[in-house]
Symmetry: D2
């Protein structure tokens, strides 16, 4: 399939590489062009604008950092909206707000194009291995049509509903749950630690019994090790996702007490020099408040 790909950060370039490797005809675009080179070497065409990446494409992926970045490549000069062919499909894999997803749906429909939400779960290494999980929402026939490219980036696609913004909601709910695991592990760990129990031994018990999911192992280890740099997913990104979850919740009148707590945790880190830390640093604040001094 002829596809464009806009946004070549850690996740985007791994996904684009999978598309090339899967035999698709891929045109990539990234604001800073250095990141395009390895993909060009692998066989991708390099576009000079987002609009250019849409030329002749059945579908165009966007995988960008936040709402403004997506708004810019879609609505801005030389943007996707003015260039994507009639009936063309915009596959949005970025973690964006429910509100923006709604606006994109409408704008693409008005332009007689199609829009699907298709955020992914998984880190860059999973992306490189084509092992992402894709959460797709939008018109069933549109999702069907791009299934071959979704299959190239993910090990499984979950089709969650007809409204593209539902996929955002699911993605945000998932990131909220991960952040909750970080917070609650941090609280529990501060408690046992101050009570004299070895943090790593405690984590080993939990993760080999009831809490066998990888998130507990991954984040629990980071918190127990006090190892928050380099950031796999930095504090401002975590803060952004919780903010988007709360914004979605606010528009739906859904109280989310733990998300509120997380919001405050992130603000506190950012107010005290923690912008560069991994978001698992939230799990250290309980230890700090408890005056835990063991390292």
């Amino acid at each position: 399939m002829k596809v464009g790909f806009v946004g070549l950060g850690h996740m985007g370039r791994a996904m684009a590489a999978r598309l090339v490797a899967g035999g698709h005809d891929v045109t990539v675009f990234n604001r800073s062009t250095a990141k395009s080179r390895p993909l060009a070497n692998a066989g991708a065409r390099v576009a000079s604008t987002a609009a250019d990446a849409c030329q002749g494409a059945t579908a165009i992926f966007t995988m960008l950092a936040d709402d403004p970045a997506v708004e810019n490549v879609v609505f801005g000069k030389d943007g996707i909206l003015g260039a994507l062919a009639p009936n063309g499909i915009h596959i949005s894999s970025s973690t964006i707000s429910v509100d923006l997803a709604r606006r994109l749906s409408k704008a693409h429909a008005d332009a007689r194009q199609r829009f699907i939400g298709a955020p992914v779960f998984g880190r860059p290494d999973a992306a490189a291995a084509g092992k992402l999980f894709v959460v797709a929402a939008g018109a069933p026939d549109a999702i069907n049509e791009v299934q071959p490219v979704l299959d190239a980036v993910g090990q499984r696609t979950f089709n969650i509903g007809a409204a593209p913004e539902m996929a955002c909601l699911v993605k945000l709910s998932g990131n909220f749950l991960i952040a909750s695991v970080i917070e609650t592990l941090g609280e529990a760990m501060a408690l046992v630690d101050k009570g004299g129990v070895d943090r790593h031994a405690w984590l080993e018990i939990l993760t080999s019994t009831l809490f066998s999911a990888p998130v507990y192992k991954t984040y629990g280890t980071l918190i127990a090790d006090r190892k928050f740099e380099p950031a796999g997913f930095a504090v401002p990104l975590g803060a952004k996702d919780i903010r988007l979850a709360l914004a979605a919740a606010e528009s739906l009148n859904v109280p989310l007490p733990v998300a509120n707590l997380l919001r405050d945790r992130f603000l506190r880190l950012m107010a005290n020099g923690g912008e560069k830390l991994d978001w698992s640093a939230v799990g250290m604040l309980s230890a700090q408040d408890a005056g835990v001094t063991r390292n």
Copy 2:
């Protein structure tokens, strides 16, 4: 090994049965005697008091509902403290307070007996299959000595430290984390549900990707099904465990914001007729506050 076993609730009788099946010489005691019959049929001796269950025993298990029940069989008339042989080992598997664990340690030491904390993770079916996880704390030689009986009830023993109350702390921290999963699943589910996403489809995505631990599947399904009766673990028991976690945290000066939220959730359920519900009903309060009406 010759062992006594006090407390034949759902968990206790399954554990005692495992001991009998493992070839140990078991004497059981329960306040209401009806529950002793199947064990008697299987070969256990039935004692008439807790003290009686200690006669000739190397070790005595207690598996009871709460602090007062344990205090009663240990310190009360015909209690364990006055009957257990010198050097005898009290294996406390109940979920009790850190404070009581400390008092029991001291009392047994004063009586030249030994005390270990050995709470378990797992539900009655795991107990029946000998698949519990045992979290043991106390003098290493005492734990060593009773390892054969711990092996009869559990698939694995984690030795967490020399102070018996550490085992309580680990058990309480684990139950706090489970309750946190219930709360955060409830919040996230209310959000996606109100946004139009099918609850069960959403849960399927989460549990087949990042949140593969059984607790997410088990409690998520109960919440999505709105099925809180009959209770596997009732609201007042959950409330008790959170109260004990908070009490331990208070004595150690450890703030626990999510545990505070959980405390309020349980109080709210109890104030509004929810005493008989499963503790997963905490996960329904978010839906209620969000005015989610879909069933």
Copy 3:
């Protein structure tokens, strides 16, 4: 002084009437014109647009419900920005976001006009009596110049700083504190009520001793009486102010745990049919969660 006045809700029309009574030359504008009539009768000129209300005016007041309403009369067609004379002063008395105050500052400066934030504390009856408190921020000479009209609406003006958005921040902080009083009175009242103490007798003790401020008396009585209709200040307005406070806090990286709780309280009311209630209804949620049944 020749002044315009845009926005004739409960507060606005009382303030405009004070200006007329104070001998100022007042031109009023309101989207729905019926509300202008009593002011016309009292001697005000009635404008057909916001721009029209600026003609010849030294200063123009805006007193509107929210950010979009203010944005509309300033930036919209026939708006203030295009009509206010060079050096003219926009006096913003609405409770608006810090972000909008910043944008208004900049826009007016670019148009060689001046902008001051001047929100007020007090209810419509205080406005009618000229007993409001004005919190002013902006260039000192601009505030100085309009002091005569501020004196007509308020009993006292507090000059809080040179940046107009500081006045918003102070107004939002004040409304946050009022909402906090509602919440904490609600919690404490649920406690004593369930313990058998008469709510009104309890309130009498508090307000005649330590908590003599009128907010305690006013809101405590509404909560004790369970009287939330008609709304003096409706739930969605309270929700909006807390949202603005949290938005300001977020941009400054300031965690606000009690504001988060309030946000959830308002969302819960709105999700369950409480849009028309007075914001003091927040104080009833604790009673509800505590299962308090006495009326």
Copy 4:
């Protein structure tokens, strides 16, 4: 009236001095006797035990730091319970738990004595001036009988109900509300401060308008001044009162979210070296979390 007075801390000795000055026949007792001397000089008899202070007394006051201190002088060796005359009245002015108040009621009734709860609002200087507010609960005839001595210590007595523990509940609810003022002032002040507004100017606005109650002035000034030593009411005492409020709430199934937050605030202070600070230091934690650096 012939009265005993047990407990001569800051509050107790001021109250006892008022009784002496009021012409009552007063016998005082304090564990450390040095504090009795000024009262002896003023005309009080000095007892050697709590029991001794009951000799011939119509009523005996207790004004002590916490539950254990009260339990000790009532139930302990040479305690009040064994010495107070039949029909004698124990006037409990300490801030004690609802649970202890219930146990004292029962114990005194069993001993054919009478018990009333009579905690006070006010600081030592108010006590010295006889300007306390007394919150009394118990049998009306008992309160009536001791009204002359209550009048000697307070400017007004509020009779809140027939069950003595109701007075504890009212006292605890009042202290919870004061602590809430500290927390919410701290949050709001961190917000405006970081936004560039002068803390003292802001406080002046609030306290001269809506928040004119002395608690706002007193605590707001301490927080704005960052002046938490010497402690007027130390962190552990605040922590204790919040703990008692939460314990009462728990026994009545009343969720108290702001009290939970306060509990965590106090624990955090105690875990980080804040035991000697005034409880208004709670109001500094928000500034700390917001990274406010202005002094």
